[in-house]
Symmetry: none
Subunit: 414 residues, 2 copies
């Protein structure tokens, strides 16, 4: 069962709009066990869409199109679908009533271009668009499904979930794919690959492993293909158990977990609170923590001591300490963490101090040098890193590393 | 001159990663005057990449590929390029030294898989990857350019800007296009369009205007097509002058300016300093300000008072005020800004307090209600907004609005 996705619109080729639809559709089809083997993006052009439709008819069983269904002149999809299926547009009364009701509800006059929205190819099944005026369309041809939906994401998603998935499930018998993803931090892709080489080499042929790296983290995705879902699920679980044995200390979560979510759950579970004292991360650490809804339950706040005077006056870091050791030092970052914990009256605190660059480095403390400290109810630890010479990535890596260090402390004291 | 973009990686087809690269590359090629007529996304599969390469060779002059160049087993691009160009991999000494230097700088041992990064097809020109270990590759075949780059966005962008564009400009004769971009904040796309309708209607046929909206800002890009560059440049400047007359109050910069850069320049110019007191923005405002290299010259720090106790104890917001007016109020946000300015001993301060959601809203103060205050050397202003019901966008919009409010104060006191 092979599917492909066709995204239609000049704005996508020009890069004015990032195509998030096709990733979302890819995920949804994949969950159904349908293999998306190809995606293409084309402009608002009759020739290219016709050619792409003919090609997709040769290579795919399910063809999902988005875009080109608006009321303006450059929206051609519907007319070209008529040409491809050798049919004509007819007025659909139900759609016309729906469009009219939307306009009257919003007290807007109907334009003739809006009437056009109710014209659909004679051979299609109309897919209800609860969020807009352009209906989706479902065509069957030689047991292949062609689906056309508007490009507006919230319209498309609703049509796909409510109309397309049930139709596809009725039409086709889907094979099974199961995916499981585990998430690692504080280790690079190649080191990870080396550590789990023996597990990877021993994978059965129906199970694939993919490395999905991002700044500061690598996701490992295991995919099992076949028909015996129960068996494969068991097989995947066994491999994941081996991975935990082998690289457990680096695994911070599974599936869609994020580090800020994971530490949020751990803090909530243990009824503990957190504050931060940031220097080089410049507020980004706080931003990651507060991006989680409900973080105010365990997170009290942050003192961003960008200037040394703030470290001294608000975080009460000793002046002599700053003179003798400098702001980028174990002594300073530990003082920041411990005083922050006291001032904010929390159980835990994370502190960061480093040289994010591009200037400010020295031979002793080159750009990228970063100290991170974690103050816990019983002790305070600090580590030094070199995060490289890119300011933005140093900030990102440091924030994630701080969260991962806190995670390890929270786990070890459970 | 036709270009196409091939994005390679199972994670793209599965929808686990949204392809932002191809939109960015599309924009860059478009700026050069190159028409991107097709984009495709394919998996890590030998057959499909080979087939796609043969097809692209038929239909395009410039073929830009991203992805599949990592050190792990599922990364196949390099091997398939050898097959397509009927060549073999050879070790590139310069790349090897570069990879080794990266590992030694970070005090990490080299693995044999890292050595692999220095193996490149014999017939390619190596494209320098300043931000990573996988080099890009540039191939010429029958006056067609094939470009292969890693999929990690910051690596790809740097290679494209520094290596690919100069090579393409040397190889091909591009039509002349001049682009000028002006940047607006605090006004929506349709309001902007209405305000500049008469300017837009009067544009000569060789000049096009594009609206590029993002959260909290709209970029207006003017593009002049033709051969008489000098003339067109003059014409563009006149239109931009009209735009300043018409919507000048909303324009915060041009080309690649960002709001944090612009306020940084204004503060430096006037030798003034800034601090922030954040609640609902949760550190994101500070993050935007500190993302600018050299921001420590004017930015002292932030107090993130997520918890009301921190507003009271560190920002000295009066307890009765908090009880009578609540944290999301004009009185509170003004107190936050003025006290922050005093505590941090700065000339200016920005304060934010709002209901980011998804919970915490009330009938009187629904989710999205945000107060922003600016304390200046002479006075303090505050405004209230409704930023909508999406937590992430409320945080982003509030931070940008705070910066734009500060910008207006800095300009008016110049």
């Amino acid at each position: 069962m092979k599917a492909e996705i066709i995204s239609i619109g000049d704005e996508l080729l020009l890069g004015q709009v990032i195509d998030t639809n096709s990733a979302w559709i890819g995920q949804e089809l994949n969950k159904l066990g349908v293999h998306v083997h190809f995606k293409s993006t084309i402009g608002d052009s009759r020739e290219i869409l016709l050619k792409t439709l003919h090609e997709s008819n040769e290579r795919s069983d399910i063809i999902v199109m988005t875009g080109g269904l608006g009321p303006t002149k450059d929206d051609l999809t519907k007319h070209i679908l008529c040409e491809f299926f050798e049919t004509k547009l007819i007025q659909n009364e139900a759609v016309l009533k729906w469009v009219q009701s939307i306009f009257s509800k919003r007290n807007l006059p109907m334009l003739s271009s809006n009437n056009e929205q109710a014209m659909v190819p004679e051979n299609c099944e109309v897919l209800w668009n609860r969020n807009g005026t352009a209906p989706g369309m479902y065509f069957l041809k030689n047991n292949k499904a062609f689906i056309s939906m508007p490009g507006v994401p919230f319209e498309m998603k609703c049509i796909f979930e409510e109309e397309v998935i049930p139709k596809l499930q009725k039409q086709f018998l889907f094979p099974s794919i199961i995916h499981k993803t585990i998430l690692t931090a504080s280790i690079g892709e190649s080191f990870l690959a080396k550590k789990i080489a023996s597990i990877e080499d021993a994978l059965p042929s129906n199970i694939k492993l993919a490395y999905l790296p991002s700044v500061g983290a690598v996701r490992l995705r295991l995919s099992a293909y076949g028909n015996d879902t129960n068996n494969y699920s068991e097989e995947l679980n066994q491999i994941i158990t081996s991975l935990y044995h082998c690289i457990g200390e680096y695994i911070y979560g599974e599936e869609d977990d994020t580090l800020p979510q994971v530490i949020g759950k751990l803090l909530n579970l243990n009824k503990k609170s957190l504050a931060t004292a940031e220097s080089c991360t410049g507020g980004y650490l706080a931003h990651l923590i507060t991006s989680i809804p409900g973080s105010s339950a365990y997170y009290k706040g942050s003192i961003l001591a960008y200037d040394n005077a703030i470290k001294e006056n608000i975080l009460h870091v000793n002046k002599d300490l700053l003179i003798n050791h400098g702001a980028v030092s174990e002594a300073c970052v530990k003082a920041m963490a411990m005083h922050c914990k006291d001032i904010m009256q929390t159980d835990y605190a994370i502190a960061t101090s480093g040289v994010a660059g591009p200037s400010g480095g020295s031979i002793e403390k080159p750009v990228g040098t970063v100290w991170i400290a974690i103050a816990t109810p019983t002790h305070c630890i600090a580590k030094v890193f070199n995060m490289g010479d890119h300011r933005g990535r140093t900030i990102e890596r440091t924030a994630l590393m701080g969260l991962d260090m806190l995670r390890k402390e929270l786990i070890s004291t459970k």
